[in-house]
């Protein structure tokens, strides 16, 4: 497409625009890239003032932990091969093998199999093979970059991060499922009703969204801690203490999330023409049947997008989970706060860095897979006001 001459930009403007873009990309990615690099180094290297020492890790290399040129080449080949499989044969296999209409199950299984194969090759097959090859390759087999996974070992195995991970999984799954169930119902109702009541519900939800979460937690804490006594007259001796229970935290996070969820789902529902439910109603569906059989099947993109944002809220939360869960049921983000508060040595700090990278990795994958949905979700609420 050729642009009109008057709109063409002078060279200086184009160069400075490109420079600003490059600068922004650097600023956006650098801190995350850097903590990833740090997490693989021995403590002395990780906090070195010289950036090259951080990248190449001489101290880590001196301890015999490192990668040779050959290792790096093999690793890159593996990544490239996985990438090719993920964009080529995998989608084809999924389409061929999954039962009709249930493609998403096929995708989940396909992704799991590919991911598992990748991990097995990277950690199980490559190390012994590369050991052998490095021995006979001469200069190419010498270590050039120091790299150690010991901090990940410390975090996941010795510090019991696995349990925190399971707790995070439990809480996020609960929050996403429940807030989507309640949110789709309410979002549909609000989108299809033009009454003043609907308007006021939305405005009150907006006010609720602005509340600092500490305010709400101040309201829950005394009630949750004493809930066994408060509920005893109703439930008898089965009355639970809600403090520290994941179920109570899930309920709280769902409620905090609800205003945002219904606003977003409502704007997605408004995109679906009302003629569609009217046609279903003429054919004899009740409102609920129309919702379930006609509207929901075309709503999946909106539901997935909103689910992503619910997931982010539950996964990223620090305040609510750190105050309402006891040590047993702690999720990952508050657990890391405990790690860097007690840090005394640089080793502890690098362990905390490894934990931080472990928490970020799933988010990174999430953006890779769902980039389009995230962008559409951000703009859905905004563009329509």
């Amino acid at each position: 497409m050729s642009q009109p001459r008057a709109l063409r930009q002078p060279a200086l403007l184009r160069i400075s625009s490109a420079a600003f873009l490059a600068f922004w990309c650097l600023v956006a990615a650098f801190p995350i890239f850097w903590i990833t690099v740090m997490s693989f180094k021995a403590p002395v290297d990780a906090f070195d003032a010289n950036p090259f020492n951080v990248i190449f890790g001489p101290e880590t290399r001196a301890r015999g932990k490192g990668l040779s040129t050959l290792d790096i080449l093999a690793g890159l080949t593996l990544f490239y091969a996985t990438w090719r499989i993920a964009i080529g044969p995998l989608p084809r296999a999924v389409r061929e093998w999954s039962p009709g209409g249930q493609v998403w199950i096929g995708w989940i299984i396909g992704a799991l199999v590919t991911g598992l194969a990748f991990v097995v090759v990277l950690f199980g097959v490559l190390p012994p093979v590369m050991d052998l090859l490095n021995g006979i390759a001469g200069p190419l087999g010498r270590d050039v970059i120091g790299l150690t996974t010991e901090h990940y070992h410390t975090v996941w195995i010795e510090r019991g991060f696995t349990r925190n991970f399971q707790n995070s999984l439990l809480v996020t799954t609960g929050v996403v499922t429940i807030s989507l169930t309640f949110g789709t119902l309410a979002g549909y109702g609000l989108a299809r009703s033009g009454s003043s009541l609907a308007f006021w519900i939305l405005i009150i939800a907006l006010i609720f969204r602005a509340l600092p979460h500490a305010v709400l937690v101040a309201g829950y804490l005394p009630v949750f801690i004493n809930s066994a006594e408060i509920l005893r007259p109703i439930l008898g001796d089965a009355a639970p203490t809600l403090y520290g229970k994941p179920a109570a935290t899930i309920a709280v996070l769902v409620a905090i999330n609800q205003p945002f969820t219904i606003w977003m789902l409502r704007s997605f529902f408004q995109n679906i023409p009302a003629d569609l439910d009217e046609a279903a109603r003429v054919d004899g569906c009740s409102h609920f049947q129309a919702f379930r059989r006609v509207i929901m099947p075309v709503m999946w993109p909106g539901v997935i997008t909103t689910g992503l944002f619910s997931f982010l809220l539950a996964y990223n939360d620090f305040l609510v989970t750190s105050l309402l869960l006891d040590a047993q049921n702690q999720t990952m983000v508050p657990a890391i706060a405990g790690m860097f508060n007690m840090e005394t040595t640089t080793t502890d700090q690098v362990v905390a860095v490894a934990a931080a990278v472990s928490i970020t990795a799933p988010l990174f994958l999430l953006v890779m897979i769902f980039q389009r949905q995230i962008v559409s979700g951000l703009t859905a609420g905004a563009v329509k006001g």
Binding site: L7, L21, G189, R192, V215, A255, F288, F318
Partner: protein, 340 residues
């Protein structure tokens, strides 16, 4: 849609919000007027240490929390009126500071210190985020189509990263002789300690927040840029408008609703600033309003949580939110009335 069907659809969500948002608000309001304390009793305790010939024994009176038959601490709840608010606001010390006209003494009082930081933080980051967001959106829009996807991918990273982790990742770049501090020291040729005084900490916190929120603004503005009317841009060119004038008089007015939206969201979120204080461990120098409430709620060494003070500070935080939102709500109300 009939009212009954509407109610059936909306009920679960409304119930959730009533139970877990509206009800806690009422209970916080009530708690802020009451004070719950353990009942202490005075007990005489005789402690003996072995000594030569005779033991040395000391008898002293100690205050101990009373226990009931289940071994739980007995508590009483008393109505204290506005006492908790007074404890948070500390008017006595405010008056003393005012008498001396001493800003630094005024800033030693936790609540006012937190309020000062929260407001500065909110209003300094706002223009930075709008500016950065618009800038990034314009350069993404200016880039070749093939580049846009990867750039948006990179831009999303700071936005979706867990706030505490994001703050930590910036902190690790600066802490001790971290590479950025080392770089600054080399450039300015002087010793720098980024974590030793309030203003450098505040600078890092604001940098973090702009890094975290600017992509959000950028993506929304970028979507808005796709719908700019090309005809009005071309007619502006024919009328001899410069590039700057086109930006100022065509593009920005077109983006105005989006700018208002981003401003609203950012005001709400920045007023709740909290994760930065945790991530940078800045509580010795800089605290925010929400952190103050959080700190009252965390059990102290004796295991007590000062719930009534937390409630008072929570209610005071709420007042700020209401003041921030009133202009927006009034506008929405007028639009709604006008729309019908």
């Amino acid at each position: 849609m009939k009212f009954r069907t509407f109610a059936a659809f909306v009920a679960p969500s409304i119930l959730m919000m009533l139970l877990f948002i509206a009800f806690p608000l009422v209970s916080v309001l009530k708690q802020s007027f009451y004070l719950t304390q353990p009942v202490y009793e005075m007990v005489e305790v005789e402690t003996c240490t072995p000594g030569f010939l005779t033991q040395t024994c000391v008898t002293e009176t100690k205050a101990q929390p009373q226990l009931d038959e289940f071994g739980k601490i007995v508590t009483t709840t008393t109505f204290v009126g506005l006492q908790s608010y007074q404890n948070v606001l500390e008017f006595g010390r405010v008056k003393a500071a005012w008498a001396k006209r001493s800003w630094s003494e005024f800033q030693t009082i936790d609540f006012w210190k937190a309020l000062r930081f929260t407001l500065t933080f909110t209003f300094i980051t706002l223009p930075l985020i709008l500016g950065m967001g618009l800038g990034i959106a314009l350069v993404i829009n200016n880039a070749t189509r093939a580049l846009r996807g990867p750039v948006i991918f990179l831009s999303l990273l700071p936005m979706i990263i867990t706030p505490v982790i994001g703050a930590l990742s910036i902190r690790w770049l600066f802490i001790g002789d971290g590479i950025l501090t080392a770089g600054l020291e080399w450039w300015l040729e002087r010793d720098i300690a980024m974590f030793a005084q309030a203003w450098t900490l505040e600078l890092m916190m604001m940098f973090y927040r702009v890094w975290h929120v600017a992509p959000f603004a950028a993506i929304i503005f970028y979507a808005g840029l796709q719908t700019v009317n090309q005809d009005s841009l071309e007619s502006a060119v024919i009328d001899g408008a410069s590039r700057w004038q086109r930006l100022r008089y065509v593009i920005v007015p077109h983006l105005m609703p989006l700018i208002v939206f981003v401003t609203l969201i950012h005001l709400m979120d920045a007023y709740r600033v909290f994760e930065e204080v945790v991530g940078f461990s800045s509580q010795a120098h800089v605290i925010s309003l929400q952190w103050l409430t959080y700190d009252f709620l965390v059990p102290d060494q004796a295991g007590n949580r000062s719930v009534s003070r937390a409630s008072a500070s929570a209610m005071l935080t709420m007042i700020g939110i209401v003041i921030l939102l009133v202009p927006v709500l009034r506008r929405t109300w007028r639009d709604h009335r006008g729309g019908h």
